[in-house]
Symmetry: D2
Amino acid sequence: MDSDQFDSISPLDFRYVDQQTVACLSENAFTRYKLLVEIALVRTLCRYGLCSQETVKEIEDACRQITTDQVYQEEKRIGHDIRALVNCIQAKVSDQAKPFVHMTATSYDIIDCARAVQINALIHDVVIPSLFDLEKVLIEITLREADTVQIGRTHGQHAVPITFGFALAEYVSRLGASIETIQELAKNIKGKFSGAAGAYNASSLFFHEPENFEEEVLAELGLKPAEHSTQIAPPEAMARTLCETTIIAGILSNLARDMRNLQRTEIGEVGEKFETDQVGSSTMPQKRNPINFENIESMGKIVNSRMSAVFMDQISEHQRDLTNSASGRTHIEIFAYTILMIKRMTTTMKKLVIDQSNIVRNLAMQKDLVLAEPLYIILAALGHPNAHQAVKILTVKAQRERRSLQEIINEDKELEKYINKMTAHQRNIISNPVLYTGIASRKAKVIAKRWKQKLGL
Amino acid sequence: MDSDQFDSISPLDFRYVDQQTVACLSENAFTRYKLLVEIALVRTLCRYGLCSQETVKEIEDACRQITTDQVYQEEKRIGHDIRALVNCIQAKVSDQAKPFVHMTATSYDIIDCARAVQINALIHDVVIPSLFDLEKVLIEITLREADTVQIGRTHGQHAVPITFGFALAEYVSRLGASIETIQELAKNIKGKFSGAAGAYNASSLFFHEPENFEEEVLAELGLKPAEHSTQIAPPEAMARTLCETTIIAGILSNLARDMRNLQRTEIGEVGEKFETDQVGSSTMPQKRNPINFENIESMGKIVNSRMSAVFMDQISEHQRDLTNSASGRTHIEIFAYTILMIKRMTTTMKKLVIDQSNIVRNLAMQKDLVLAEPLYIILAALGHPNAHQAVKILTVKAQRERRSLQEIINEDKELEKYINKMTAHQRNIISNPVLYTGIASRKAKVIAKRWKQKLGL
Amino acid sequence: MDSDQFDSISPLDFRYVDQQTVACLSENAFTRYKLLVEIALVRTLCRYGLCSQETVKEIEDACRQITTDQVYQEEKRIGHDIRALVNCIQAKVSDQAKPFVHMTATSYDIIDCARAVQINALIHDVVIPSLFDLEKVLIEITLREADTVQIGRTHGQHAVPITFGFALAEYVSRLGASIETIQELAKNIKGKFSGAAGAYNASSLFFHEPENFEEEVLAELGLKPAEHSTQIAPPEAMARTLCETTIIAGILSNLARDMRNLQRTEIGEVGEKFETDQVGSSTMPQKRNPINFENIESMGKIVNSRMSAVFMDQISEHQRDLTNSASGRTHIEIFAYTILMIKRMTTTMKKLVIDQSNIVRNLAMQKDLVLAEPLYIILAALGHPNAHQAVKILTVKAQRERRSLQEIINEDKELEKYINKMTAHQRNIISNPVLYTGIASRKAKVIAKRWKQKLGL
Amino acid sequence: MDSDQFDSISPLDFRYVDQQTVACLSENAFTRYKLLVEIALVRTLCRYGLCSQETVKEIEDACRQITTDQVYQEEKRIGHDIRALVNCIQAKVSDQAKPFVHMTATSYDIIDCARAVQINALIHDVVIPSLFDLEKVLIEITLREADTVQIGRTHGQHAVPITFGFALAEYVSRLGASIETIQELAKNIKGKFSGAAGAYNASSLFFHEPENFEEEVLAELGLKPAEHSTQIAPPEAMARTLCETTIIAGILSNLARDMRNLQRTEIGEVGEKFETDQVGSSTMPQKRNPINFENIESMGKIVNSRMSAVFMDQISEHQRDLTNSASGRTHIEIFAYTILMIKRMTTTMKKLVIDQSNIVRNLAMQKDLVLAEPLYIILAALGHPNAHQAVKILTVKAQRERRSLQEIINEDKELEKYINKMTAHQRNIISNPVLYTGIASRKAKVIAKRWKQKLGL
């Protein structure tokens, strides 16, 4: 049905439109998936000898011609969505073929299988590939910046030095685990062809082993049957997939938060290359706002908040109620927003510029105080009776007198004996805090390479 | 932009389309509201003597011609939504008029005012009138069925008798309170015209009392300014309105739950008139499913789950961050779904059929056991030392022997003295449990009439 | 019942214990509130002539002695909480008095009234006073720092200057509105004494006007009756109060987020005075972490996430089901966490130290670029055909050449004619960007003083 | 610390107390887990030759004596929880041993490992065994009632017959899948011993391969290290476990909903054996309320609503912020409530009584109309051109004339030819709708036996 896209209410339908997602998740796509299920059914009926190859051909041809609009027109007339679909198919085939359309099926045999095929396709064709793209970009930056020493921050405060690559390796690792998880989960989304109450009441009228028949219909669609279904397939496999999707959105929100904080004017360690024509602010022409990271974090909130309805929809009374009729149609938006997040993160990270001078400047801000941790730890290890308290006093002194911690240390007669007992490596770090990065660089590289290989990137 | 409506992902944009809602909440509508704000601005500039009446006319004419599509095309080029809008207006006016487009305004002066005008319009034109329609229908049924004795149910178990009108009066009262609340809340949604950080930095360059200027721009739009704003208006007024909307959705969910339970095959106290062509089930032609009430309850879950993101969006760093860029665009869906719930509830309740015979049958199921409560209470009041336990034993006996409680009571010698002490009214009820409805009927009528009058229905 | 507090699971019960909150919200407190309702009942029965003053005295005395532990022991035996309470009271009074304990009441007459009294007390005695304390501290800082020029930040980027007092005035205003709102809402939490299904079935056995009787019982408790109740009072008034509580938590989360960002090592505009013995980090003795603001933000997440169950609990089937039995007991935790947030915010803001030198340093970081906004606006107003683009080019030049924007402006021949047309005020600001604070200072003071007066602080 | 348990606010701490859960999740338990980590650390230090066996012994002895109360007292003094723990240990050991307490560790090395050990123990010792218990009960009922024909219900309306065992097999299957899932997920909860920013900065001062050291400390605790950690372990493994826990709560909520609906007075297919002393209602002595199923559903809402905070806590800025300080302490409540649900479901299902007479009565209510589905399907298969519509007309006629559908069918001349073409099996079902249960019975048994074997029950 032709319409003005901007008459839409959901920003998914006019502002955040991703064509790959539309190809899987739009109502047109869903009609197509439902028709695929009707085709799988008649093919199997034919294999079981219930109808002829011609009937299959007729129904396939009919299915190819049906538009969502036609189905909606018919639904408007009769008030039932799947019966409308069936009527549309039947209207396009011969009287001989008519009985074999939807034969033995209940509405949710069609809908739940269509949903399973749809989500499998989406995960396989869109979610996983876009995650691979992102992972690839993150791995590249991780490797490139594995040795870029950066101050580590906890509580927003300077802590001890790490490297920028190490900080990104965190996301390579967390996202990598999610990629593996969601790949597994998608395989568990099952179909069902067990009729109105799940007991194969209708198909038992025709088949001695209706579970075999179900298995064959589903095999046509690349699906396996749920171990038990009622009128509907059990909701847990989908819920788990949506949980993992939300978890992915959470990881991306975390990365976005980090990046936009590193973009603060006072920090300035990263930036985003701006397009020539791009406007940062309608009144402040100088501004470079981290709008992409902000947008990602914003979508993360959308995703997070919607999981509650997914869990609520686990409750379906007896052999099913329809209190998921509307809500069940909206859960796919969780995928849609997460895909947008993944893709925007990829393009934004690709444009990420690292400001080496600011990284160095920030590192130097409290550089000397960073010594407090290794000093305390080594002193303690060397038997200083009260190392934590002693070092705290030194740092307070350094801060108050605006002098370097090293100066204070060197003046301190009590510490001399401990310093003499230190290993060369320890003494080296005490006099050069930038070396105090542990195994950050090495670890960043190992993780990046491991995932590069695992994912075949 | 022309498109196939069924390429949409959100069911709001192809399945649950309400034209009144679209007229307020679509992106086209939002563009229109933003242009209204730009017009209000230039009119006020003119009143302050900064530009001529001709400029106003030019800009008004330009605004009337601008389409969302044009703005999106321009945004695509420059990457900023409000600057795109401004460019589109400026492109349509003379060089003399150009400077007065958007003069002193920051993007969110426009957006927050547009949002406030939009939500005010929505509440005033759609939410409140549709709630009035629903309230009217509920009041009618309440009055009509005020005397229809029905068993009251707690825990899904028969408790004591009430009337059907009394049960509905609950919803008249709860919804009535929400109508009054949301009317008040909508008035508190404020606008702002205080510039990039809320301190009127830009407008102070031109006006000695920039708050007066703000007040006048907003008055053009029927708005009042927030007491304090940053780049954005404080989010609480909108959050409160959304809370109340969610509360309305909760009330409707409860009514829907009640109605669909009363429609259970075994209960059958209410039903919904079916259209002649309507199909209840794709395989079970005899079925009459409560799909409208199910749909309402389903939308209630959508609404409930989305509030979390509204509360999250209260956090905006310093003078604002943009981590509500996407999420902030989706909060209006809470209104959209709730309006659908209200309207569907109205049409469904209009078609509600009450099955008097089933009501009577159900009431009779345990009729006699209903006596347990009044008997226990009167006995206790008359000084029976252990009334609760005593009556419990009698009811167990009645159930075990499948006899009426009254028989058991009459046989019980110990109770005789208490029965003799009862008032006529009490004895009457003990021998006719259907009379044990308290003031259900009277109260139903009072509540229905009160709200009818209050709302002028 | 004696126990080790650290055998608790909820941190509310061992770590975040606020004595004022415990006094209202603990189970002991709730028992006390329930006993108050039983007392209010018998007093009213006496006034209606159903029982003697001696009976009242007996029951009051009994209620004063009952412990939660006793009630739980009895509940363990009989499996019903309110019947257990009643049994406990009856066990302590004479046989004559026994019938008047709980007479005509259903469990939820007691529970819902007790809850209403409890929450009224909590809001009146704890929430409002602690909000007043916080508001007072915020007002003081607002007034003290009304003239402290600070860079305004949007998107975490430097925008235009404001004052620190102006930034805090935002919270004075937002919290002030919430104080007024929650005071109103608390008044709307109603009680009920309408019996097992809300139709006064039981009380009608004794009173011709059972609503009057209800009104009198409730008046004893400082409550008004709900317009309509079933077995339970309508849940909306409580839901609205919890919504506003969550909104308060949202405002505090925002303030906490702002403060901890201003505490970042690179920003350092505020800090928190540390106690002498306090340890910032177990391994990094030099660290001063914003743990209080972090804790407040963390509690804000707890509060936010719990609202969903409050809305779910609006659905209670027919005259009530008990699917809020456990969840309904946990909603008070929303208050408990919010009170903790308010109190911790108060003590932390009291210790807030402002680092003037860092404020000045940060303000200077891009000081000159701040000129971009006023320059663009004035140029546009003076008829520059393309002001936004022109200024953008100048700022890019200034950044690339690391020179001040003013230098670049002064060299620009094209701009000369516009500069000559500027007012003195405008020229003044163009050459001294720190003056570009609009009416920040004035507005901060007005808002602070308004709320100081409104709240009588 | 001694206290009155009823001074608690969370019902987990006074009303819903499960001793197994307390043993794992209380603060006392958590202290114990943290001390276990400190012990694992010193043992590994000893194996690496840094300290003596005597030091290990000293520290182990000290850890055994420390109480939560002591740690909280010390924390009150110094304001840091883990440093307080360390101080408490150090106070109990010799000066030689002191440096080896907590050596190289950061607070969250201890806390995250303790949490991982705790949750592993909880899942292994409490969650899984209690799920096994429940699964066992469900399997028994499934087998026992595999042949009990019951009407299947969709939309709360009678659909087609199934068996009660088949209906329960749904839950055997859904819960079974969750048991397998959560067992896997618990294995993925990892520990970390990588220091203040995750780069092993401190441990690198002493070990050339600090990851090996980490691995050995963790092995002592039965843990594996996270592939990458910052100051904290990545939150996803815990989030996934909590998701699955919530999914389990969702399945149980669904079962509870089903059971309490089957307990409705009008349905009465199941009931719960009451204890002799139990009181159903404080005023209605005859009532038998499904309070256990209601309570389970209520706890399900608590669990559902709390997941949002778990997802929010995925965001931790840079190498960590502490905005999960309070919220992170509450996530364990999700486990606590779910365990309560599992255990209560087990005891309640054990007491479940099936009312055979009501099952039969309900089945008979519309028995004949059940024929509509098989009749329509067979007619369609036999080439009836418009079977769905035709059968619909017959059912309307049957309902209007209050006659059996079979009578109407037999009178219908048009249908005769189709009936003649039916198989014996088909004709059998058409004349005996109770046989129309598909493979319900067989499938129930297969599923029950499969899980019985899989889980070794």
